[in-house]
Symmetry: D2
Subunit: 309 residues, 4 copies
């Protein structure tokens, strides 16, 4: 599909020219050092071809994008029991807000805000040592991306563990309501580490294929989840995947997507493509500024919006 | 399409059997009298055929579903200037909440919560007498549904005007921030009246066609809005169309939709169908209880979810 | 008591020299025109002597100070039934906040925030025409101050009625919860008018005597309220009399007091003095900036803090 | 003063007869075991005589009453610099609420809610090891009460440390805003331990004397704090000493006071008495139910309200 190749190349070139690139996340010291000039993009199409642009093969910290995969894992383990611990409504507030927890007995609004993802991690951890749980998550990522080289950036994990007081507050708060089963330190340890997984756009887009193709890995035909579950995860990405900018992302891009403060976004065009972009500068809601603009350009040119051709 | 006919008939039969039908809205006296046994459904397919089930030709109070059409009208008048008055993020709170207004300088979070729809109504009103603005809205509904018999239920409008103190609070609150241009009574008058429009499922599904077919009326080929605008309205319906149950509706039904406290829901399957259902009993979030269940059954059987076949 | 005379004169002179005088309330057009250079003070001592300084005989808009007197009147009418409509806890938020009403079923936190005072006014109004209720309030003020010349500034009342959308929001909001009995417009009309009463510091200090002397008018020996009720009103002034600056006023001045956005403050030194000050410039919480500083100077020099000599 | 002796004895007898005694705090396991039948009272009068009733010599966990003394200590160390870390306004919310911290950049509203007391403890800790800071606090309590036997109940401290997730959330949250200087575990350790100090009513009333007598220990004439500081601490006790029941306590009792979830209350009648009561059952706001009733009876009979004789 030469057209897609051209579009991906064009977008990478256009993104290189932007001067307003947003602000690189500063609250995690290791991330603050990343050069805001980077831009990467990878699109896996229905034929399984990868279209790569810019720094699409350079690894970055996936951060909250990992929440899509931990949610998938936890649903596999706990099924709908998971929804006793976490809701699935947009929060109407910032990614690290603690306010709603107080009104809702410590139940986070959805699995993609920090509190919700910590509760999901706690479920994966149950019955395991932190090291085992982390191994399982990493193994799952490598399997999905078909790439055994994917690893955790220990420096990033350590950086978060030293400075992640806000997340420690969220975890302790949920613990006070009995929403977490494991020791707070264990759950946070696993959480900080899976957020510190480093992947390239190519690897991320590969890992996201099952969401675009009804729960299947289209190359191998392996089923990752049932088709209904894939749809449902997509729906949560659409309504909650960009924190308090989720409405804006749906409005402009029109695809389910999940952002991370490392500047990555995974987006899914059902039946058409699995897409990852990376640009480290963030907007006011903590989502990649150029990443969103690039995805908007891509879906407009390809007619991929789920809200009408 | 006989299959769709059968499915619509089946769903109407299934819905007749439910004993748990939710609670009919009680805060508007005129609505409280409606028999919770009603159930109606209408599906307009890509060929323009109407598939009707149950009470699909019985008129009911469309209430907040009117907000989809006033948003469309106001965007036609004001374009993107509209977004200075109202946001497009899910609210994370109830349909009539006033709390977020205080933190956000009187700017409502989206056009589908009450405060946002009042701000949109105020825009339509500007430069007009209330009677004219209302005439314009009614004319638009009749044009979209291709049915000049559509009318306002004056008893419902009067009932709301007598008891709509919460909406009067929202309007005065926004007025105090300068978000409304017109006298509060004028704006509220138009708002209460367009919420009191009575339509059947058939009429509503007809009126919603432009959202399913890229802004066009597929029967006549008339363009109502640009394709991009139709997609964007759909995206707001998906993220904000069911108040604090929007995430749940996306998760279960997988279509853009807008509910009203009269028990109606308009839903859009882009490129495939415009759908309206009606069942007066509501769930805890103020959305039609059986309406949502019926739509979930329909989209599952037809494979219409926008989140993957 | 020559010492008190000297202190009052000194304070008036000191206050004339301040350059940082706060900001005159701008949201009521009529008040915005007042010259911030004014400063008045009046102290009625235990012997009934009045000590007047600066503009202590110039009338100003008492605004929220009227709430002390409407609370007293309403308690006389309804007794402890009043506390079903309004609480008596500090609000932890601004004078015109609507947020807490949502969590507390429309019951205002205390009678001195706007919402609470509107609920109190509604109680006084019940069974009367607005004109009668207003006549009763005015008569009560004239009786307490022993001055039949006290009147309402109709221009101020009209100014508030035209622009008081925030108060209309509060009233409609409470009405939606059934906290108000009367038509919203009636209750607001009485409220705006009693806030628009014009009085001098001398008149206010006279009117406040019953709070300093156990419910008695010390000149005539007439009992206004029981001693316990006077103490209790004082306690509410201490905890709630300065909106979200009540803690600060207690900390610095150490007396029960009630402020108004006209720049007045009524303060009570039980057994020792009834005090009124006036300086139109306000601090960030909407309390008279120099008024508080003057009272702090007075209580420190006289050793009048209720928290220890 | 035989009259006071009789009144204290009467009150202790009356309190023994109450069947509605509130609920013993259950969230700290060690406290949940206390028999709700206990009632103790101690009043130290201006002559230094102690009037003891009921279980007035039985030790209980002073819990948040310790916050009065840590505030005093921290003010001695940091002076008005302390107020950069903590406000002095009533919170309008529960003792362990986290909500306001989010709006106010991690600055607690006052030193008597949990978050504020943790921030104060952090100030005392600075430059010290936890053991030293705790030693200093304990030494101060023994000095004030003139009783070297006062000690920490290690079982209570350990119980809180194991289950104090809510406080850990508050501390981590403030740490994320830079409001705490020391490691969260250190600060919480000292906090849990000073809350676990065990004292009798007699010891508490002795320790509180400096607040009633202008900062002096009336027996020895030693100055603990300046008179102004004693008044100011009293003012904070009045406005903030009973969490979201502070207005109620001021209204009914009319004295500065500080409660603890162990069921104790320290109250101060300036120039007249230092008072401690203890009854383990709590009201909905977490304040001793009978303790408040006993204090109301005492101040009414003695005419000790600060709001008028």
């Amino acid at each position: 599909m030469p057209q897609l190749d051209e579009i991906v190349t064009e977008i990478a070139q256009e993104m290189a020219c932007y001067s307003d690139r947003g602000e690189v996340a500063s609250y995690i010291p290791e991330l603050a050092r990343i050069d805001p000039k980077h831009f990467g993009i990878a699109v896996i199409d229905a034929e399984g071809n990868a279209h790569i642009g810019g720094d699409g093969d350079m690894a970055f910290s996936i951060q909250s994008i990992s929440k899509v995969f931990t949610l998938t894992l936890a649903l596999g383990k706990a099924g709908d029991r998971l929804w006793r611990r976490v809701g699935r409504e947009p929060s109407g507030s910032a990614f690290n807000s603690i306010v709603l927890l107080e009104n809702e007995k410590g139940i986070p609004r959805n699995p993609f805000i920090n509190a919700g993802a910590i509760a999901v991690t706690d479920l994966i951890l149950s019955g395991h040592q932190p090291r085992e749980a982390l191994g399982e998550i990493l193994h799952f990522m490598r399997f999905l991306a078909d790439d055994p080289s994917i690893a955790i950036d220990e420096a990033v994990a350590a950086s978060e563990q030293r400075t992640g007081f806000r997340n420690a507050a969220l975890a302790n708060y949920m613990k006070s309501f009995g929403v977490l089963d494991n020791p707070v330190d264990y759950t946070l340890g696993v959480y900080f580490h899976h957020c510190a997984i480093a992947m390239s756009c190519r690897q991320l887009a590969m890992a996201g294929r099952f969401l675009a193709w009804q729960g299947l890995n289209p190359s191998t035909g392996h089923r990752v989840v049932q088709a209904e579950r894939a749809r449902r995860i997509n729906s949560i990405m659409l309504t909650c995947g960009h924190y308090d900018g989720s409405g804006e992302f749906a409005y402009r891009v029109g695809l389910p997507g999940k952002s991370g403060v490392g500047g990555g976004i995974l987006a899914v065009a059902p039946g058409k493509a699995s897409i990852a972009v990376w640009a480290p500068g963030l907007d006011a809601n903590g989502n990649s500024h150029l990443g969103r603009i690039a995805l908007e350009a891509l879906t407009r040119r390809m007619g991929w919006s789920i809200f009408g051709a």
